[in-house]
Symmetry: C2
Subunit: 484 residues, 2 copies
């Protein structure tokens, strides 16, 4: 906790450490206080170190002065993990200027870079080499935030998550020394003790600030083919995925489900998007299926679009497919990538980032549609997602009455209900790829086993006692003393 | 520390907890005291819990009575991570009877199983479903040991390591309660706080005993083709790998280097193995290159052997290949898998399990050959390994004088020299896939940054204060009090 009188002292001291323009106050902080999709808070000040050493000095200063640090990268997250709370006492540490080093190793297919590098900039630099970082997202985060949330994206099925594509990281621990942990291995195989980088990946700044990363790179696809598949019914969705994995697995790069409601709302609210089912009824569920090859077309191979058609023809014989629509890949992907913004225009959106065993996903969706249809028939379920890895963006659109926002109590009850069913009845995840922030802290607290919270609390006290992060994985560090 | 008088009390107490036959003493312990390739130690007793609950009770008992536990699974490791030391005071906890549950989820492509299940048994149960756990090894470990060492194997290039193929784990922490951490997620996407399973994977029992695992499964290959490629010289090795990755990447499942010396010694000492170069000189370096498909042959595709031939023909134009030899896959793999035992017959073996950036591997090998050739010309470098992921089994064969074992001081100096160059000059790993045990503890202590040891020490004290594991990642828990 810091009082206002002392804030200016802190700013002066940190400016002496980091440089004048590296500590922002007043209206310069606006962009760092507001998050991508939620009301922001207020920061005491914003630090922008340019190097790991500067980040270390600033973290040490803050921890010693008991200033709560909220690490921030691209600030594109949606769960309130990268913005300060409303108290005005938390200091944001933005890594946006921390873009060095840039050490590209083509033979190792890896790059050592700063946490502030944008995904778009990273991929632009890699494109001339035929490489990319294979996390496909609608937003444009920075590297540090991608590691902190361990995001997945639309090509998870083929490439996995950020964790799988991270070789090393450099971290400043939230302790009084701002200890630098150099875990910047460039190695693909390295089992020399505990691999500590994993406690920082996906944990939203729980123990420190990620300042640099070593990323594994993939060859950029050179050809792709896309089709929209209509499964014969909800039960055939997963057998269809399994059949395609058996038939054409190494080429399969996306298997993205889109509910009828999500397509209908997107077409209704985004006039540039046309229905792929031109004129016909939009089916209950359809699947964006993509295959890619990372080489140029060859004479001795089937053209990739024919390859996809033939695979679909083989799988068709199983009776799992009712219809298949082919079209320009860009147009089909544009529909898919537009859904998440379009459903926001359809009413008051209550969005969930869930994941299940692949076998549990469709049963969960059927169950929720039935349940909600009974009690709350006005709510539209506009779900879409990454069926190949069990992830679903489960979106509930509540009709907006006179443009009014949702009653917070109603929203909380709705969230509690959905999460309870997803987690307790279906063993699902309440945060598949968005990690934990203030917006879903309540569910971490509700669903995390006591033994896991105990471990987090003990480890935090042991290695990172300073107040850091918007999320809280540990029990309160200073719980009220029980009355005896 | 336990004294002999009390050992029988402990055995009686643990038998009351676990059952009579679940605690072994005397000559029944022999198989648990000796390791696969190193002189074993002596155990106080051996515990064999059948369930996680039993493991928890036994761990709690041992921690409360200050008995050092050494977890053991298949005991196939080669660094002394799974056997007791020579004091006779450490208790082995074998998970071999902990084979339940067996929960196979075909749609999710995952299985929840006990830590004592053998890899061969796991794959035998999966074969009827066309699935396998894609870690390809010469030995036959149990699941718990595979997680504890995070092994890689010969198909790492395609499937990655054990970590990448592990969805969840159940762990008994080395604390006075034997706390059970249920991290047995079946989810592929799940970012709900710190993903704690990762501090147990690859860390050789540092904090507790892995009792169950949830593994991700892969489709079993249905076709394969293998060739031995002779690169035009040492410098063309990595460009050749890159060219093949560009040309045929999704099918490439192995790119295994074999030095001339390793092949020559294998042929010399294993009469059933024939040279693939029939009559011709064995080249300085050759590569086992394998591609696989996980479907049956199809009429509209090139036969897989032709596919490999055509890919090699395309790459041949780059001038990187001098020769290519085709042959029965089984025969070529038999050569490759026999090397590691055959080189043991060639003299006194000093073996290293190293990994580098892919770009550093061949320069390291060239440097070592030159260095050793100058000072120790009698030593033969019989290296082979997983070039695709930077890993190399760097084997030095020292001529045996009159069947005498190596002078331990000479061996230690040799090891120190190789490791120093590998780690300090080339930034390599001194344990690529064997993890840490008593045999390479010295190098953990020498090469691990102080800040990393501090983290390990603090975390150990915080969550797993009991003495556990053959490896020691932390500073001594009770260091001598400095004289003031």
């Amino acid at each position: 906790m810091t009082d206002l009188a002392r804030t200016s002292d802190h700013v002066a001291a940190l400016r002496a450490l980091l440089g004048e323009r590296s500590v922002l106050i007043g209206s310069d902080m606006a962009g760092y206080e507001a998050g991508a999709r939620h009301s922001g808070g207020r920061a005491a000040f914003v630090m922008r170190p340019r190097t790991t050493a500067d980040a270390s000095a600033a973290v040490a200063y803050c921890v010693r002065h008991k200033i709560h640090i909220v690490p921030q990268a691209g600030n594109t997250g949606v769960v309130g993990a990268s913005t300060p709370d409303a108290t005005g006492t938390q200091a944001v540490m933005s890594v946006e200027l921390l873009v060095a080093p840039w050490e590209l190793d083509l033979e190792n297919r890896s790059v050592h870079c700063g946490a502030g590098l944008r995904l778009s900039e990273l991929n632009a630099r890699l494109e001339p080499h035929g490489l990319f970082f294979p996390i496909d997202l609608g937003s444009d985060p920075q590297v540090g935030g991608m590691l902190s949330t361990n995001t997945g994206g639309s090509r998870f099925l083929k490439y996995g998550d950020v964790r799988r594509n991270t070789l090393g990281a450099t971290v400043v621990l939230a302790d009084g020394e701002g200890t630098v942990l150099d875990l910047s291995s460039h190695l693909r195989k390295n089992n020399v003790g505990v691999d500590w980088k994993h406690i920082f990946i996906g944990s939203a700044g729980a123990f420190g600030v990620i300042t640099e990363a070593v990323l594994s790179l993939e060859r950029r696809p050179r050809q792709s083919a896309v089709a929209i598949l209509v499964p014969s019914n909800g039960e055939s969705m997963l057998p269809l995925l399994l059949a395609l994995e058996d038939d054409i697995g190494p080429f399969l790069s996306a298997f993205e489900g889109m509910s009828r409601e999500s397509i209908v709302e997107t077409i209704a609210h985004q006039p540039t998007i046309r229905s792929p089912f031109s004129g016909r009824t939009v089916p209950d569920y359809s699947i964006l299926c993509e295959i890619t090859r990372n080489w140029d077309p060859r004479e001795d191979e089937l053209p990739i679009s024919e390859m996809l058609e033939q695979s679909i023809a083989r799988v068709w014989e199983t009776g799992l497919i009712e219809d298949a629509v082919f079209g320009p890949p860009e147009e089909i992907w544009r529909l898919r990538h537009t859904i998440s913004e379009a459903v926001r225009l359809a009413g008051n959106l209550v969005a969930f980032d869930l994941a299940f065993r692949r076998s549990d996903l469709m049963p969960f969706l059927a169950r929720m549609r039935k349940d909600l249809g009974k009690d709350l028939p006005d709510i539209r379920v506009c779900d879409f997602g990454h069926l190949g890895d069990g992830g679903v963006h489960f979106n509930l659109v509540v009709p907006s009455v006179g443009g009014q926002p949702l009653d917070p109590n109603f929203e909380r009850e709705l969230r509690d209900r959905v999460y309870r069913i997803a987690v307790e009845e279906f063993g699902g995840s309440f945060s598949a790829e968005h990690a934990i922030g203030r917006k879903n802290q309540r569910y971490y607290d509700a669903f995390t086993p006591a033994a896991v919270v105990d471990v987090a609390t003990a480890v935090k006290a042991a290695i990172a006692p300073g107040a850091i992060g918007a999320a809280r994985y540990h029990r309160a560090l200073n719980p009220p003393v029980p009355q005896s």
